[in-house]
Every structure is written in C-alpha cells, then in structure tokens.
C-alpha cells in the first residue's frame, strides 16, 4: 500500500471519528432539551408531539410523491409541492363553491368522500400531464435540464394557483366535525383523527401497490434499469406515467386533508410545504418509501416540538430548523436514515 492511500485512510478515519463525536454530542443536546421541556410541562410536551405527528402524516403523503418520482427517474420534482397547493384550492372549491357545503353532517361526509376521489384524480392527471408534456422529452438530457424545467413548472403551477385562489390567503369552513377529545390537558381534535384514518390506509395501499402488484414490480424494475426493463417487455413510459399518477394522487389527497383540517388556502403554500416534505424524503433516504414516511413523521415531530415547547426557538424559526436539518443531512449523511449507500457513478 502506498503512502498516498495510507494518508487518505487516516484522513477518512479522522473524519468519521469527528462525525461520530459531533453526532453523539448533538443527540445528547437534543435529549437534554427534550428532558427539561418534559419536566417543565408534560401536557404541553404531549400536545406539541401530537400536533407534530399529525403534521408529519400530511408530510408523509407529499414526501412519498417526491420519493417515488426520484426513485424512478432520479428527478427532484420541484412542482410537486405546488401540485399539493392546487389540490388544496381544488378541494376548497369542490366542497364550498361547487357543492356549497359549509357545515358538517351526513351529506358532508359523502361530499368529502367524493372530493377525495375527485382531488386524487385531479392531482394524478396534472402530474401525468406535466410528465408527458415536459419531463419525458428531457429524459436523456443532462441532469440540469429536467431540474430547471421542474422549477419552471413549479412557477407555472403557482401562477394557476394565484389566479384560481387570488393573491391572498383564503379561509374556508371545514365540513368535518369540529369537536375534540380531551385526555387530561391534551386535546385531540376530531380532524386530526380523521386525517389519520384517511392517511394510514392510503399509505398501506401505496405500499401494497409497489411491493405486491404487477405494476409495482414493473416500477421497481424500471427504477433499477430502464433499458433492461424495456427488454423484459415492460412499457417503461407507461410505468413512469403510473408512478407520476400515484404521486399526484397522494399530493391531491394531502391537499384535501390540509384544506379541511386547517381551513385555509394560499397560492404560495406549496413551495414551503413541498420543501419540508422533500426534507423528510431525504431524511428517510430518498427513493425509499418506508423511509419517506419515517422521515416525515420525524420532521413533523421536530417541527411540532420546536414550535410548541415552552423552551424552544419558537415558530418563527421553524423553517430555519427544518432547512438546517436538510443541510446537515446533505453534508453528513446524504443517504438518509434508511437509504442504502450508492457509489456515485458520475
């Protein structure tokens, strides 16, 4: 072994040692922070975690769209967050304008279910349309090209949202029941429970489609090697379209849930939430479905704790915390929590 590689080895070891030490210190710091907060006010701690987790469920739906698309064509679909935003605007119009529902009731649940189907179809068709119109032509182009196209698409979708929803924030009445369950000092609104009831089956369905069905197998094959998949008789274009449809449908569902639980829509909402969801996908290891869900729950939890705990940075630093996590992750563990190490082919 030459001197050169020995020096390299030593440097790598030192780097790894440093990273491990810093990581341990950071983990201890976070544990200490959680500990003092818990001691100070347990009920606030649980309340904050609950809000965080219910956000996390929403992030999971959006993050899956990022991770699915990245897994199959290695593209960061910047427009995905804005697709979610269009989902919120679509749901608001569907329920409150087209069907004129502003109060809860038996009929409202029917409308809600119809809206879920409609908004999922809506999201899926827009996502497929974008892929068909723009990304497909750029599949062989240098990586910069589809990425810039995605950024442009995000702007176009924001324009649609701006003209559909207006330039300000709009508030809407939710048609979900507005009560809450109270356990000691921790309140759980019905809307949170309902959003979990809708999301969890969607996630399970998703996982079933990818891991058990024929189409899912085709997706995994295409993700591994497009040309080999084509030789095996898989219709690669259709498989990629199907992936975009799945992602779009989930973003649409997330849009409905967000609109009904928060009761607001705004054209620039998708960009922020999309970035947070993307951070979640990266945290779990991009391309990994379980990872995306895990990352989303963690990010939601972190955000909830930061915003809601008595000793914390507070809501105004919420985005900064999330994006700092993104940068640190990228710098030290770009493969994420559950991602596998891939050697860069360049």
């Amino acid at each position: 072994m030459s001197i050169l590689s020995k020096g390299y080895q030593a440097r790598q070891d030192r780097r790894r040692y440093l990273e491990r030490t810093l990581g341990t210190l950071a983990a201890l710091g976070i544990l200490y922070w959680l500990g003092i907060n818990f001691a100070k006010s347990p009920s606030q701690f649980f309340q904050a975690s609950l809000i965080g987790l219910s956000n996390g469920v929403l992030y999971a739906l959006i993050a899956l769209g990022y991770t699915l698309v990245y897994g199959i064509i290695e593209l960061i679909n910047f427009a995905h967050g804005d697709l979610f935003m269009l989902g919120t605007v679509f749901s608001a119009n569907f329920i409150s304008v087209w069907f004129g529902k502003t109060h809860t009731g038996i009929a409202a649940f029917g409308i809600f279910a119809a809206c879920l189907v409609a908004v999922m179809t809506f999201g899926a068709s827009i996502n497929v349309g974008i892929e068909r119109f723009a990304y497909r032509r750029l599949r062989r182009a240098p990586k910069l090209a589809p990425l810039i196209t995605a950024v442009g698409m995000s702007f176009i979708l924001q324009f649609v949202g701006l003209h559909w929803n207006g330039s300000g924030q709009k508030t809407w009445n939710s048609i979900l029941p507005s009560g809450q369950i109270k356990i000691d000092n921790v309140t759980i609104p019905y809307t949170t429970i309902i959003s979990v009831i809708i999301t969890v089956p969607l996630l399970i369905l998703m996982s079933w489609i990818v891991s058990r069905t024929r189409q899912g197998k085709a997706m995994r094959a295409t993700a591994q090697d497009q040309d080999a998949a084509r030789l095996m008789g898989i219709n690669v274009n259709r498989t990629i379209s199907f992936t975009f449809a799945l992602g779009g449908a989930l973003a649409g569902a997330a849009g409905l849930i967000f609109q009904q639980t928060r009761g607001l829509t705004s054209y620039n909402l998708g960009y922020q939430l999309g970035l947070i969801a993307f951070t979640s996908a990266v945290m779990g290891g991009i391309g990994n479905l379980q990872g995306a869900v895990l990352g989303a729950l963690l990010i939601g939890l972190i955000q909830g704790l930061n915003d809601g705990l008595p000793i914390g940075l507070g809501q105004q630093w919420s985005q900064t915390v999330v994006f700092s996590i993104l940068i640190l992750l990228m710098a030290f563990k770009p493969t994420g929590l559950l991602g596998k190490t891939v050697t860069e082919k360049v």
Binding site: L144, V151, G152, D227, Y271, W317, Q319, P334, V346
Partner: protein, 397 residues
C-alpha cells in the same frame, strides 16, 4: 507513486495577441453603448416632443435601467456558478441578501452604539457605521465569498441535484434569519421586517450622489457591470475557467486530467457569491435601504431564468437575458398591462403574469432551446449530445 510535477502552464496558453484584440473590441462596444444611452437620456430626451417623452418615461425609465444593471451584475455571478461550472444554485438570493445587509450595516446609522466614518458622504456627527460605498462593495463581496465557501465546502461533493437542494435551503434560511434577526439574544441585528433604511448615498470624489441622481449612478453601475464582464471573460479563458468548463462537461474526465474538483468548484462558488454580494450592495444603494421581505425565492428563480434564457455560459447572452427580464419584471409588464387595459377597458392584473412568464421561459427554453437565446458554442454541443446518440444505460449518466 505520485505524478504531481507541475507542467509549465505558460507554454500551453492560447495566443495572447488575438485575445487582447477581441477584448479591446468588446470594451469599445460596451463604452460606446453606455455613452450613447447616457447621451440619449441627458441631452436628447429633453428635446423630444412631449408625447415621445412620456412614452420613454413610461416604457424605459432611467431608474429601471439602473436597476436592470444590478440584476446583470448578480446574473453574471450566477452564470459563473451555473453556466461555467455547471452547478445548479437555487439559493442565490442568499448572497444578494447578505450583500444588501452588509450595505445596511456598514453604510447607515443603524448601529447607533458606534461612530465610525471612513471616507463617507454622511456628516461626521451622525452616529453609526459609515464606510465609503467603494469599500463596502468589497466587504460585501468578500463576506459573500466567505459564505459561499462555508456552504460549498461540505456540500460540493454531493450530486448536482442534491447540491441544488442545499443551496435552496440556504436561500431560505438566510432571508428568514434577516426577518427574525431583530432579536438575537436580545440584540437587534437586522431590524426585522422593517429593514434598515436609509442607506448612505454613493460618494464620488467631491460630491455625494442624491438617491435620484441618474447620470452618476448610471456610470457607477456601468463601471461595476464592466468589471464583472471583464472578470467573467478573463476567468473563462484562464486556467481556472478552463477547469470549470471541464468540470461542467465531464467531472470524471476532468478529475482524471488532474483538475482538483473540490478546489475548482469552491472557487466557482466563491467568485459567484462575490458577484452576488456586489449586486446586493448595489441594489441596497439603488433602493436606498434593505428590507427583509424583498429577499425571497422568486429572486433566485428570476436570476436563474436570466441565465438560462440568455444562454448559460455566454456572458453577452446572460447580459441580454438579464436586461430583458429585469425590464419585463420592473417596467415592461406593468406598462404593457396599462396599455392593454386602457385600450380595451379591461382590468387584467398583468404583473401577476410574471410567474407564468418566468416559469414558461424556463420550461420552453429547456424543451426547445437549451442553449439559450445567444448560445455558447461549446455548451450547445454538449446539451444536444444525447439527442442523437443511441440510448445508453438508463440509470447511469
């Protein structure tokens, strides 16, 4: 085994004579254009008939020209990162903001605790830090270059699309820091959403320029732009620039040829950030203050659209793209909207269409003319390399 013996770089340089001739040519053209515009606005415009004068005022106001040049400065900086080195930066607004706040800190009465005056235009009795514009330009540029290194050092090893995300996150964090920075451990660092204003006037020997002074500011911004163009062109032909192009075209091959990847990429980042900082300082003096909510994601995207539309890697293309989009953004679209609304008695909100315009420009350029309006010949060849070749292995690049 080590093959690190340095080859004599001088002997391999392309012929210097030809270069200097072509470089003199652009300088002459640039000066002629600048003087012609200045003469038009100061001497010819006042003699035009009233109708023509209002048309010029509505469609091509002189302040819009100055603002457009600020955009050109920043876009040329982004061009070094995206166009030369091929690294996508989606958070360029961070450097713009840092530059702006540098001007806010060093050229205003914001820090009342101190009283520092260095060649400044403000009276000596006014408290605060007052350093000459010419010094602050370099301070702002250097601070930005430093931040460019900080953000680049741990992340430039990543894949290109991950890098884009990190820069995007950085571009979100920095403006939010400035918004929330009115209370950092009890210290008011950025004055929150109110921002810092007024910023000192630019000083030239013997006088202080009022905020509405057109001619002097015009020439100062022309000078800064010329400096950026000069720097971009010289760097491109130099050793570093050729290394950037090599990395853009094929990272693996470049590193095999002995290009130090990290150092070269980092220097692209630092130089780009420097220009962004200069743009930020110039912008702060142009507007006369810094306001945290002005620094948002759309600035990064508009800058990217300028670079992409004009032609990545081509200094003149980027300049044309920046002037065009800056004009559309500040005057063209509102003026066109007024014209249409007054003619057809409609109330369409035209400025809101800039989302569609910038997004559409990015998408359509990427789909149909990836090399930009004024393409750089080398880049054109690369961008269309894959169109003709037979499909290769799908996942690998």
């Amino acid at each position: 085994m080590s093959i690190t013996k340095k080859t004599d770089s001088k002997s391999r340089r392309p012929k210097a004579v030809k270069q200097s001739a072509s470089q003199r040519k652009w300088a002459i053209g640039f000066i002629v254009a600048a003087v012609a515009i200045w003469v038009f606005y100061t001497y010819i415009m006042v003699h035009l008939p009233d109708g023509a004068q209002t048309i010029v005022q509505n469609w091509f106001p002189p302040t819009a020209l100055n603002e457009a040049m600020v955009w050109v400065i920043a876009a040329l900086g982004l061009n070094i990162v995206v166009g030369y080195a091929g690294l996508l930066d989606l958070g360029f607004v961070a450097f713009w903001a840092i530059g702006g706040y540098t001007a806010g800190w060093f050229m205003s009465s914001f820090f009342r605790q101190v009283n520092i005056h260095i060649l400044s235009t403000s009276p000596k009795v006014v408290p605060g830090m007052h350093i000459s514009f010419w010094g602050v330009i370099f301070i702002g540029g250097l601070i930005c270059a430093f931040f460019g290194l900080i953000i680049g050092a741990p992340t430039l090893r990543l894949k290109s699309d991950y890098l884009a995300l990190v820069t995007l996150g950085f571009g979100e964090i920095i403006p939010q820091f400035f918004v929330n920075g009115s209370n950092i451990g009890g210290f008011n660092l950025t004055n929150g959403t109110q921002g810092i204003s007024p910023v000192d006037n630019i000083g030239v020997p013997g006088r202080s320029l009022s905020p509405f002074d057109f001619s002097w500011k015009f020439f100062i911004f022309v000078l800064l732009t010329a400096f950026m163009v000069f720097m971009s062109l010289r760097l491109r032909t130099g050793r570093l620039g050729r290394a950037w192009l090599a990395i853009r075209e094929d990272e693996l091959a470049a590193s095999m040829m002995g290009v130090p990847l990290m150092r070269t990429k980092l220097s692209a980042y630092a130089v780009g950030a420097f220009s962004g900082g200069v743009g930020g300082v110039a912008y702060a003096t142009h507007v006369g203050g810094v306001f945290a909510d002005r620094f948002n994601f759309s600035i990064s995207i508009i800058l990217l659209a300028m670079v992409v539309l004009g032609g990545m890697g081509n200094v003149w293309g980027v300049m044309v793209g920046a002037l065009l989009l800056a004009w559309i953004n500040s005057t063209g679209l509102p003026a066109f909207g007024d014209l249409v609304n007054n003619t057809f008695h409609t109330t369409i909100n035209f400025p809101s269409y800039n989302f569609l315009l910038f997004g559409g420009a990015l998408v359509l350029m990427m789909l149909f003319r990836r090399e930009g309006l004024i393409p750089e010949s080398r880049l054109k060849a690369i961008l269309h390399e894959d169109d003709e070749s037979a499909p290769e292995i799908g996942g690998a690049e």
